[in-house]
């Protein structure tokens, strides 16, 4: 019988006050995450939240679950290690678009295809905020408000959900920070779905991208009654995606990766093998 813990979002918040800029969408993501954690009916010590580097990667400090504020772009391999060593834990990974899709882009591809049972939240603000506003991998090519790219990058942006689908993620969703209840639902669904779940959360950076305040008017829910269950169907839908469709976009059925944990040899056996 499952015991109802009756925990609230407040039970998952730490005493550390966020130092994000006022107006940052990450506040609402934190609210969504703690509300989702309260709904998962798991104790704080049964959850690990792993992050990389960047404004959004500070999020473990603001929760009271197990946290690991890792190395830039390396949150996913750390999280995979945690999950494979402790499959009993609910593992959530969090970070930004730069951390996850540029510095950690290679890890992202392999995390998608490896399909370890964990949930990855990318708080996408299309800018490097912590270093004062440079173009990130999801920045549109004509954004020219950075001194580093005064004429824009001229490079097509990475499209995170299409990339995740092509690379093999088993659950793909997109939310908007301004609708934190919906983001909470996506997180719960992602955690409960077996395998690697990827959730892109459009999270405005009002300091370096004030125009992102308009995202509230641009987001729209998916018109799909049920999420695509095959890659081909999801691809067809995403072909017309304007980047602002929210909801669960793909829910696949690949078996999560979990190596056989049975002990096959002792340390002494391995040493003998190396010696021979």
């Amino acid at each position: 019988m499952t015991v109802q813990l009756d925990l609230s979002a407040q039970d998952f918040k730490s005493d550390v006050k966020p130092i994000w800029c006022p107006g940052c969408g990450d506040y609402a993501v934190l609210s969504a995450l703690t509300r989702a954690l309260a709904e998962l009916n798991r104790r704080p010590e049964e959850i690990a939240l792993i992050s990389g580097i960047g404004c959004s990667s500070r999020i473990p400090a603001y929760t009271n679950v197990y946290g690991f504020h890792g190395v830039h772009g390396r949150a996913l391999p750390i999280a995979a290690g945690v999950k494979l060593a402790r499959p009993d834990l609910t593992v959530i990974v969090a970070g930004g678009d730069g951390d996850g899709l540029s510095i950690g882009g290679n890890h992202f591809l392999h995390a998608c295809r490896r399909n370890v049972d964990m949930t990855y939240l990318v708080m996408d603000n299309e800018v490097y905020g912590m270093t004062k506003g440079q173009a990130s991998p999801t920045t549109s090519p004509d954004w020219c408000n950075s001194k580093l790219t005064p004429e824009g990058t001229g490079i097509a942006p990475v499209e995170p959900v299409r990339l995740a689908l092509a690379a093999g993620a088993n659950f793909i969703a997109r939310g908007f920070a301004g609708n934190s209840a919906e983001v909470a639902r996506l997180i719960v669904e992602g955690v409960n779905h077996p395998g690697f779940s990827f959730i892109q959360i459009l999270s405005p950076c009002v300091t370096y991208r004030p125009e992102e305040r308009d995202w509230r008017q641009m987001v729209h829910p998916t018109d799909q009654q049920t999420p695509s269950q095959t890659v081909a169907e999801a691809m067809r839908h995403l072909a017309d995606d304007d980047g602002f469709t929210t909801g669960i976009l793909f829910a696949g059925s690949r078996r999560p990766f979990m190596p056989d944990r049975a002990t096959k040899a002792s340390i002494a056996d391995i040493e003998r093998k190396f010696a021979s």
Partner: protein, 167 residues
């Protein structure tokens, strides 16, 4: 689940979420040393909690349903009185703060006015009408307050050395 219990569960969440959001904004303003606006947000959180206590008093003999965050049937993406996070700025002034609170109260009023018009249960209509009248009072107070705050210069958000996260 009775319609009255569902309605009151929404009313509780409306005020609780508004208070929580105002507190978050106050914390954020304190971090950025915008103390005047922080104090104003803190006061709004206090008022939201007073209203929450009133709703709880109304609901004290009714078993309220425990809804998931996404089960609330708002007409807005979040609770109607929750300030939109992205509408704040570390350099915002009392003018912005008052106008933001005014917009929040107007959405709250609209929500209850709509419920008073459309609910099928007469008790819900009565309660919604009562709550809408209270919200109208808050709107009037904030409209008065809005007259007394000075509109900032157009370049109020210009900062030659914008913030960077620091530990």
């Amino acid at each position: 689940m009775s319609e009255v219990a569902l309605f009151l569960a929404h009313a509780v969440a409306l005020e609780a979420e508004a208070a929580e959001r105002y507190d978050e904004l106050a914390d954020a303003m304190e971090v950025h040393n915008n103390r005047h606006v922080a104090a104003m947000f803190r006061k709004q959180a206090h008022y939201s909690r007073l209203h929450l206590a009133e709703v709880m008093e109304t609901a004290k003999d009714i078993a309220l349903p425990k809804l998931k965050p996404w089960d609330y049937q708002w007409r807005t993406p979040e609770g109607p009185e929750s300030a939109p996070v992205e509408r704040t700025h570390y350099l915002m002034t009392p003018y912005h703060c008052v106008h933001m609170a005014l917009q929040n109260e107007r959405r709250g009023h609209q929500y209850y006015a709509d419920m008073a018009r459309t609910a099928t249960d007469p008790e819900v209509r009565r309660l919604a009408d009562e709550f809408a009248a209270e919200e109208a009072g808050h709107v009037a107070l904030l409209e008065q307050m809005a007259l007394s705050v000075k509109e900032p210069e157009p370049d109020w958000d210009q900062d030659l050395d914008p913030p960077v996260v620091s530990d």
